[in-house]
Symmetry: none
Subunit: 196 residues, 4 copies
DNA sequence: AATGAATGAGCTTTCATTCAT
DNA sequence: TATGAATGAAAGCTCATTCAT
């Protein structure tokens, strides 16, 4: 009784995800370079050969992990895709960024380690740079709408604060409780816009 | 007739620095794990063997680089070493942190990449964790003195902002001009302390 | 379709033995330190990488060789494992020691070179020292039973003679024919016990 | 006031001996291959360069050590150089061999480790083989004179006993006290000659 | 689809030896 | 005579990747 075409596809998808998950965990824990394909395969419970059946290379696995994560960040941004950021959408974006970290700390730890490494960061910029810039422009517009006297400067400060807070939450969660920081940062963002 | 003690010492000092500089550049550019000792030696214009004459291991080079950088951060903190942070000392610390980055971007790029890499970060925490905590305590005390209603929360926000701004200055200086951010962040820090 | 568990196991077993044999030959011929893993792999007709697939380290190969040899010595000792050495068992032990050398000269050449090398000898003592002592005690008991006036002294002389004769048989078989020495030594051992 | 030709020669001789002594100690303690020239020079308190001024290579140092030792063994043999071994000369040889070990255990430990390593043993055989054979012939003659029924066999047994006892004294002096073994072995040698 | 034996390039590290001074 | 910085070949070992089965 051979499985149907569809069943095979489903199995493939699950196996692939299994490898991705194993890799993520190990990369986050021990670093990309210190994790061997042997360990990834072993953790996933498959052979090395099979892993190479699903991915072209070790780097390929990393790329796929990063892509997934990048996509998920921006799905929380400009919810109705009208190119304009409302106060609610802005707050939603900030808060959801924190929540995303709470849900998948391993990934974000790996992610932040990865984007710091210039060789990788550059190739990512090429791929995702455009999207990044669109977001910055929307934020800029939003800050202006809020009546900022120095939109450019405020944008810099706010994006520094958001990035910094996400970073400390990721790297030292024992000192920076997620929920508390989420509230403080959200509030601070609004307060930092210089209106007078 | 052999060279004098002094001559040998001078040679050693210069060569060692040469190797450190080469390593810093390559580590920052390509990451620690992706940089081989061969490349370091080649860039320094010496043989691999000589590099090992000056350093016990590749890790040893990294450690020395990190130590130097770490020391330089905290030389700008609590200038008179009385354990108490004044308004002026606080501002001086913030501003000098930015200036330090301006002076040695390469190092700070490496530094920020390194502290994100879990395998390396842990051994650093063991070495420098104590000093880090002392600083946090002094900052906490300072924020209280400034009349904060929520010192703990404000400390988290401020340190997030400072770390985040240093990070963006390091990783995307073309979008975040150093001097401008320095002023904005310094001012924002004072404004963020909730006094009412 | 992959090979069966059994097939893989068989391949592993054979290749492992192949590497062990090559290593033994080279270690015996040129010494442990003067034999590189490259040479071992080359002689076995495999890649260096594969050798490390089967053994954790070069030392690991040596350990396995030594263990095998050590086990084989003492399987000829105290045949019925009752802790007491009879006249027949004693003679059997002596004679079989010679026979063992005849069967695997290479190993014994390596073995005797190894136990002389202080750095390696120490770790062996830790592993096998206990067994060695048990044997000496049994020999001591045996010599007493034979009516020796100076068991301690006789034990020293006899074990010197046995060790020495095995040594010369190993290192200069052209001058010391195995069978002839076996007979002479066996007889001498009994004659050396001072009964009057 | 320049030193005289003779004084210089004396200094050279002392320095050379210093290096030889340091090398011997380290070779015996850690093995030849595990001892670096750096350590030898350091222990002797001279520079590496100077060591190479006195010796052509590391191997050269070892050769000189071995040669010295070899010469010293046979200076105790056939004292009056008449080619004939008397009972007294024989006993003197045995006893002095033990005494030599007592005087310089380090050397003999190294020596016995070295001669076990076949690559070295071979080159030694070429150099010292002749002398060895002369000794064996004299011993053979001596045993005949003593009225042995099986001179060839007795020679094998006796030389095995002597070599073996020297070996155990060197490698496990805590279990085989030198003086005691010297007496027992000397006596046993005479007893082992089969006269009936 | 699946296995793991096998490869080989490249890594970190060591060290006997040389040589400018 | 004396120094130690400098070299370079080779060591032990790792691991991404391939491929016969």
């Amino acid at each position: 009784m051979p499985r149907s075409q569809k069943q095979y596809k489903e199995i493939r998808k699950q196996k692939k995800q299994l490898i991705l998950d194993s890799a993520l965990e190990l990369f986050a824990e021990n670093g990309f370079h210190s994790t061997s394909m042997s360990k990834v395969a072993q953790k996933a419970g498959v052979s090395k050969g099979l892993a190479y059946n699903y991915f072209e290379s070790k780097q390929d696995i990393l790329d796929e992990i990063i892509k997934t994560g990048f996509d998920s960040i921006y799905s929380n941004f400009d919810l109705n895709h009208d190119g304009i950021l409302t106060r609610e959408e802005f707050e939603h974006f900030i808060r959801n960024s924190f929540k995303a970290i709470g849900k998948n700390r391993k990934f974000w730890k790996l992610y932040s380690a990865i984007i710091m490494q210039s060789d990788i960061a550059e190739s990512m910029m090429e791929k995702y740079g455009d999207r990044s810039q669109i977001i910055m422009q929307m934020l800029n517009q939003f800050i202006k709408t809020m009546g900022s006297k120095d939109p450019e400067g405020d944008l810099m400060v706010i994006s520094s604060l958001v990035k910094g807070s996400l970073l400390v939450v990721i790297s030292a969660p024992e000192f920076f409780p997620l929920k508390q920081l989420e509230d403080k940062v959200t509030e601070a963002c609004f307060r930092l816009i210089t209106t007078k």
